[in-house]
């Protein structure tokens, strides 16, 4: 058939029975049209068909008329001839991972065609109607970009007016320098995983996973491949046995992070052969000539199972008679206490203090299995490269750590594995796990051909890990002046089917509960249990939102009991200079007062507004939540980068600051510019080579708010070396040519280690005393919420975040993390969930926030004080923004309508049920205390009576003697 695509008539050959419009344009190479959900709920495939916006992924080609006019992102502007919308997107922080960008830009193009002078609300209404989802930003930057582009299109501003201009004084740091990857992203020219697949050599085989999705827990009796193997085009059905045959263990590496962990042997198989431990487990891979053939054959694999009792929550798994999900270890497999003040003498004294206190509050809370909901799913390519290495193109939070996780599972030595990041449509943490990489790599190794594996969104959703759900019980007390005296708490975290990092995440709740207040006496415990639900993995703010779910609710509840305003109550209890956190150590910084003073006018105004606008139909309230997070992975963190002087006197920076949309590219550029400031370089003179383990040294993971801090530190070291080498006696710098003539090396390594910071230590596994981070980041959140009393629906209408992340490196990148974190927080509070595997199959049913779910009115205030340890005074700018924002929303709901939500998400049904009780004059009964495996004080006593040797700063030292000599 013929279509007029981007202005030209083009002939295409297609299968009208199967092909969608997206299939067709993508096959033509127009891969700017992205397919995310493939269900028409995310909007990333939006194109204009005969002047109308359509979702190309669901538009059957058979329903498209011959010679229809199709406009895709490629038709809107090109790198050398950008459309104002594209310029605005690049320059106003609207590009993060960039996966949704083509859809948004096309959608904006249609909007501005209709109305070139829209209000912000018009823009928001438009994207709500077109259902364009962005998961990285808070939508605010997108509206900013539309408004700016409209201004240019109306002739009220020029392209230059909305573009970043290089400063003449060389002071780039902190400025909104445009991300290097933005240009390709706004033009639809960034090749994400699926785009790579389309562009691979013709002999590439396609891989489809056999994910039975029949049970959460079952014995596999028989897997029958015979029919599948006979299907057309099938090259091989890869099973666990094939992995064993190529010398692999089929077992993925898992960590052992905690002295109290009872899991020693990894349980996670690449391909399951004897048991299914969770719904998303995979038993085989079908490799075929085409994806359709592979899919058809995968459907023919018969998996015979015998169901086993499934434990889908911590509460089930921790019952005394629950069977061990993994035979070798008990379900509750690790715990970490925290004791302070009288708690260190005798834990139960804390309870006695609370019993006798003037005021106390108690409650039991639950936070959900929050899904990451990146719009791009999971697509991986694998082949043997020119050096005979297994090369895998993928999405990875840590290209080197992925190699570690593959471990010996595939029987290929570590130095023969090369991981390369594709342009990546966000992750927020799920790609810290290399399970997907193992699948594609196993197929490539077994069939010895290049392969491509692209999961459906649903497959990916069930396969990838989630945030760990958490039950908690807590009590907190204060004196008559509202000063906190003691707190006790216990957490029960649901690790899901595989122990992956579960014994690490328990150290977060016992650090961030009641952060950053000063409480003199504490008795707390965090426990983690295996269940049969999806496994817990990294997610921005890792392990801390679970803590704030308890502590920031209790702070409000106690303030109410003491008759003190929540702001004032917090003001009285924030830690002041020298006061200690619950780990009995000083905070690394004390910005708390300054932050509260900045927040005060916003709070007072919001309270006034809420009172003024509160109506019986639409209740309105204000909520606060303090929060924060650590920076770096702790005392043993390190990062390495290279800097090289090029023949044209530009600089190449090599690192693995993985760019997942958070700004690995721009972050790396900013620190390089700043570190090499004496060379007076412009951004264009720095070339980044990133995240390919063949060329780049290990800069560590893009996680733990560590990248800027660690990579910045390493860049400073490398830059000093390079500049020292370039420096002539007269203080000027040698050119490349001069360096060559004098035989001076032109490439330098910088390695930064947190060990240089004084006083770092891991948490003591017996007391929770310790100081595992060289810097903290802080965020004080305020949410304004309305509650519709008819439906129970809560809406966040305004949000203020005052933060301390040290000096801002790139304002757009930091804002991007802030807006993004806040939007995830709001989603976490109100809608997001992954619990019912039959319902929560895509981003929409899992509760992803659309534009109208996120307020346009978000205010960010960065304190921006110089951090003593961080590179250029910056610390880390990510996780603090998602740590506790959800509790500002939950507290605001209570403030608005008197309904306290103990178990998030705060769906409209839950709020409505509460409103109905209150309306009937009843009292909302809070959840009863959860049984988390045993009595808190029994466990604390037991731990006290049975201390484990403290393993020192190394994670991997179960032999456990701190003074044992370190060899490496």
């Amino acid at each position: 058939m013929w279509l007029n695509i981007n202005g030209a008539n083009r002939m295409l050959i297609c299968n009208p029975a199967k092909d969608t419009l997206a299939d067709v344009v993508r096959r033509m190479g127009l891969t700017g049209t992205k397919v995310g959900c493939n269900k028409g709920v995310c909007g990333s495939c939006t194109v204009i068909l005969n002047g109308k916006l359509v979702r190309a992924c669901t538009k059957k080609i058979s329903k498209v008329d011959e010679y229809s006019q199709v406009l895709t992102i490629e038709g809107i502007g090109t790198p050398t001839n950008l459309h104002p919308i594209q310029v605005a997107w690049m320059n106003l922080g609207a590009v993060q991972c960039g996966f949704c960008v083509p859809g948004f830009i096309v959608s904006t193009y249609a909007l501005l065609k209709e109305n070139v002078n829209p209000t912000r609300e018009d823009v928001r209404d438009w994207f709500q109607k077109t259902r364009n989802v962005c998961r990285c930003t808070g939508y605010k930057q997108i509206v900013d970009a539309v408004m700016a582009a409209a201004k240019v299109m109306r002739g009220e501003a020029s392209i230059e007016d909305i573009s970043f201009k290089n400063p003449t004084d060389g002071e780039y740091y902190g400025k909104p320098v445009v991300r290097p990857t933005a240009l390709a992203k706004v033009c639809g020219l960034a090749d994400y995983g699926d785009d790579q697949e389309l562009k691979m050599p013709a002999e590439t085989l396609k891989v489809v996973m056999v994910q039975p999705k029949v049970a959460h827990h079952a014995k596999i009796l028989r897997i029958d491949f015979s029919e599948a193997e006979k299907m057309p085009g099938v090259v091989k059905v890869v099973t666990a046995q094939d992995i064993l045959n190529i010398g692999g263990t089929n077992l993925m590496a898992e960590g052992h992070f905690h002295e109290r962990s009872k899991v020693m042997v990894p349980s996670r198989k690449v391909l399951c052969d004897d048991k299914i431990y969770r719904y998303g487990d995979t038993v085989a891979l079908v490799v075929a000539d085409t994806k359709d053939h592979a899919r058809e054959a995968a459907a023919k694999v018969k998996v015979e199972i015998e169901k086993l009792p499934e434990y889908l929550s911590y509460l089930d798994a921790c019952m005394p008679d629950a069977m061990n999900i993994h035979e070798e270890s008990p379900n509750v497999f690790a715990m970490q206490p925290v004791l302070k003040g009288v708690g260190l003498d005798e834990p139960v004294k804390v309870a006695e203090m609370i019993n006798k206190a003037e005021f106390s509050a108690e409650g039991s809370f639950f936070s959900s299995r929050e899904p990451h909901l990146s719009i791009e799913g999971d697509a991986i390519q694998a082949y043997l490269d020119e050096d005979g290495c297994l090369a895998v193109h993928c999405k990875s939070q840590g290209v080197y750590s992925s190699i570690g996780r593959i471990g010996n599972s595939l029987g290929i030595p570590k130095n023969k594995v090369r991981i390369i990041m594709n342009p990546t449509g966000a992750s927020f943490g799920w790609s810290t796990h290399a399970g997907d990489i193992c699948l594609a790599a196993a197929a490539a190794l077994v069939v010895k051909k290049p392969v491509a594996l692209s999961m459906t969104y649903e497959e990916h959703h069930h396969f990838s890990g989630k945030r760990r759900p958490c039950h908690s019980n807590g009590r907190v007390a204060c004196d008559k002046n509202g000063k906190l005296t003691a707190a006790e708490f216990e957490f029960g975290m649901d690790q899901g089917a595989y122990s992956f990092g579960g014994d690490d995440v328990i150290t977060k709740q016992v650090r961030f509960a009641f952060f950053p207040y000063h409480i003199p006496n504490v008795a707390g415990l965090s426990r983690i249990a295996t269940t049969n639900h999806n496994f817990g993995t990294a997610y921005r703010s890792y392990g801390s939102p679970q803590a704030y779910t308890m502590s920031e609710a209790l702070m409000d509840m106690l303030a109410e009991k003491a008759g003190i305003d929540p702001f004032e109550f917090r003001w009285r209890n924030i830690a002041r200079n020298g006061e200690t956190n619950i780990n009995s150590r000083k905070f690394r910084q004390y910005p708390m007062e300054e932050m509260m003073l900045k927040m005060k006018p916003f709070y007072e105004k919001a309270v006034k507004e809420a009172k003024k606008n509160d109506t019986p139909e639409l209740r309105r309230g204000v909520g606060l939540a303090w929060g924060g997070f650590n920076v770096t992975e702790g005392a043993t963190d390190s990062a390495t980068v290279y800097l090289e002087l090029n023949p044209d006197n530009t600089i190449t920076k090599y690192d693995t600051w993985q760019e997942l949309g958070q700004g690995g590219d721009i972050g790396s550029l900013m620190v390089t510019l700043e570190a090499l400031k004496p060379l007076k370089l412009t951004p264009e003179q720095i070339k980044l080579v990133q995240s390919d383990t063949k060329f780049c040294p290990d800069s560590g993971m893009s996680a733990g708010s560590r990248s800027h801090y660690m990579n910045g530190g390493a860049t400073i070291i490398a830059a000093e070396k390079l500049m020292n080498a370039m420096k002539k006696p007269d203080g000027s710098f040698r050119t490349y040519k001069e360096m060559q003539q004098e035989k001076i090396p032109t490439k330098y390594e910088g390695k930064y280690m947190t060990m240089v910071t004084e006083g770092l230590s891991r948490l003591d596994p017996n007391t929770g005393i310790g100081d595992p981070t060289p810097a903290f980041t802080y965020a004080l959140n305020m949410a304004e919420v309305t509650v519709d009393t008819k439906t129970g629906k809560a809406t966040c209408i305004g949000f203020v975040c005052v933060d301390e992340v040290g000096k801002v490196g790139n304002i757009d990148a930091v804002n991007g993390q802030a807006y993004g974190g806040i939007s995830h927080s709001i989603g976490f509070a109100l809608s997001e969930d992954y619990e019912d595997v039959t319902k929560h199959t895509n981003i929409a049913t899992s509760g992803v926030p659309y534009i109208k779910d996120i307020p346009d009115n978000i205010t960010l205030i960065h304190l921006g004080n110089h951090d003593a340890n961080g590179a250029f005074g910056s610390s880390g700018a990510s996780e603090a923004f998602q740590a506790s924002g959800h509790m500002a929303v939950i507290n605001a709901i209570y403030n608005a309508c008197g309904v306290r939500i103990y178990e998030i998400p705060a769906t409209k049904e839950k709020i409505k049920a509460g409103l109905d009780i209150l309306a009937a004059g009843g009292k909302i009964m809070p959840p009863k205390k959860y049984f988390l495996g045993s009595d808190l004080y029994d466990d604390l006593e037991y731990i006290k009576a049975n201390p484990v040797p403290y393993g020192g700063i190394d994670f991997f030292k179960p032999l456990g003697v701190a003074e044992g000599e370190r060899f490496f």
């Binding site: 590496a253 169901k307 929550s313 509460l315 750590s401 570690g404 959840p927 032999l959 044992g964 060899f967």
Partner: protein, 735 residues
Amino acid sequence: MELANGLVAECLQNEPAFCSVECPFNLDVRDFIGKVQQGRLSVAYKTFQYAVGFPGIVTALCGEPCKQVCAMKDSGGAISMQLLEKASVDFARNKDPEQYNMPPKDKKIAIIGAGISGLACALRLTTKKYNVTVFEKSDCIGGHLYKLLSPELFLKDIERQFKYERYTLNFNTDISDIGNLEYDAFYVATGKGGNDLGAASGKDGVFMGGSLTGADTMYAIAQGLNTAAAIEKYVKTGIMTRPEGPSGTKLLREGLQIISCNTVLPANGNAFTKDEALAEAKRCLKCACNACIRYSPLMNYFRKFPKRIAEEVEVTIKPMTLDGNGTVATRLISTCNHCGLCKEVCPKNIDVGEFLLQSHRTMHDQGAMPWAFHEFYLRDMDFSNHEAALARLPRGYDKSRYVFFPGCQLGASDPQYVIKSYQFLIERFPDTALMLSCCGAPAHWAGDEAIHDKALAQIKTDFIKLGNPKAIFACSTCKQMFQRYLPEIESDFLYNVMAAKGIVPARKFKEKIVSVFDPCTSRYESDLHKTIREMAIGAGFHLEPLPMEGNLAQCCSYGGQVAITYPPYADNLVKTGIEQNNNPYITYCANCRDIFAAAGKQTWHILDILFDLGDENRVSPTVSERRYNRLRLKHQVIKEFWKETSIMKNPGKELFISQELKKKLNKELIIESDIYTVIENCEQSGRKLFDPEAGTFSGHIQIGNMTYWVEYRVKQDFGIELINAYGHRMKIEET
């Protein structure tokens, strides 16, 4: 897990105690008693409560079948479990059950019969928030308990256990057919002679239990609880399984350490006070197999059973840690002394040491073992086998019947040990050859099979050269190594030969009380044990046995050369070794002698006594002196026995080292000859830095994998004064 399969399969660590198997409720008695022993009666109560459902009723009616199998039965009386259970009930802080806040389940379960078995089933199911309905044909709950207990007692217990749980109870409802009842599962517990409602014929979803099946009261309750679990599995999976009974235990009574102790009787005749309960609980052995933890210094130090060790080793050899470096058990693998005690004390003879050796080899093959762990001693072995080596027939012989193989450490300790012994031998057997070299143990311990094979090949060549003589060993490690790797070579111990030839100790002691410390490699050499003791008695000593001697011999810490790998462990081992009693020791291993003496223990080598050499306080030589002694020995024997001139290479300039610095160098295993090499290199190459202020030079070179730094002063005419020296495990990239 192929490497570890045997270990884990055979180990009895997780076998249940005898009593738990007999208990109708399979109460984890070890866990329960452990809590009582710690005085944590409230926690013990919770364990008991969950296991039995109705603690009040069970303590009243328990027939204590556990007493029949109690290991203390004939050693003061079986543990009074019933009284301890009662004590846990009496002294619990809070007798109420736990509140389980769980989401309600949508499955409906019917229980026919409100006797205690049906109620037990109801209790467990309601705890998990199943929707339970109980049908009772009479107008009261409790069934046959009315015949056994006062209603006040059992009704109160039942009420308490159901305090937080709800179920529907229908009295006066005689169910004769369940066909028309809409439930997901049934538990039929209609009592003795009751209607089984088809359950006996195996109807899906219909379970039966209690007195109906002939069970006594205790088993009736247990069946109710266990059937609840079976019902839960059934409603979750659709699979019907009968609750399983206890499967017995493989635990062996032989492994237990029983100390007789009389049972505690309650002073008031019927119930323990708290103190009485604790005293009675402390009698309990918590029967478990833990001989390895009790005896093996390694497993005791790390508190790790074979299974855990196997797991840690497994993930180390096949890296499965997140950083992929698999360092979990690297140190553990290298910390084994290979003394064989673990195998000796294990009732299943599990040989963890051999497992660790194999693992060590695997790690070595993978290049994953830190070279630093063994490099020093491999270099030392190389020294013994080259510069200090010798293999000679006595003058005038072209073959020999015997060869004296003193091993590398005897002469290192004191050359006179070797010289005097050889003198003794050659006087009795004039054709006795002498071989100074190493048996290969350091390479064996390092898991380095290539180096080991080379050493063994050299030994074989030398033996052929000497006419395949019988070896006479002074060191039990040498003998052990030969038996394992060169079994074709016949051998005996020097001391046995001496005894047979009627040696008379040159030195006499009057009634001095000492203990013989057997080297670990002499574990199975009972003749040798006897010989040494007779020699000691012959010298006038009075002997007191050590707790760990003969086949329980412990390593002095030298075995496996673990002191580099893990200094705190080695120190601990030395400490436990010398603190077995306060007597001076006599030993017959140069390493035991020198290590203990260095730690301040008066220790003789048996040769000290036989030839009147050093005394029990002789200062142990430093690592440098040990090397020097070996070299000295070689030259001396050549002079003395072969009457040849042999000149030791004279270092160019004399090196002055303070005592303080010598101690430091010894501790850090820095050999003076290496220092010399560095200084020579500095002086010859001129690659040295001068510090004009201190007037000292400094420089470094790499030897093996180590980089040695020295700081020294050249004294006019007086040689060189060493100011400081240290070694780094690093390489310097020279640019």
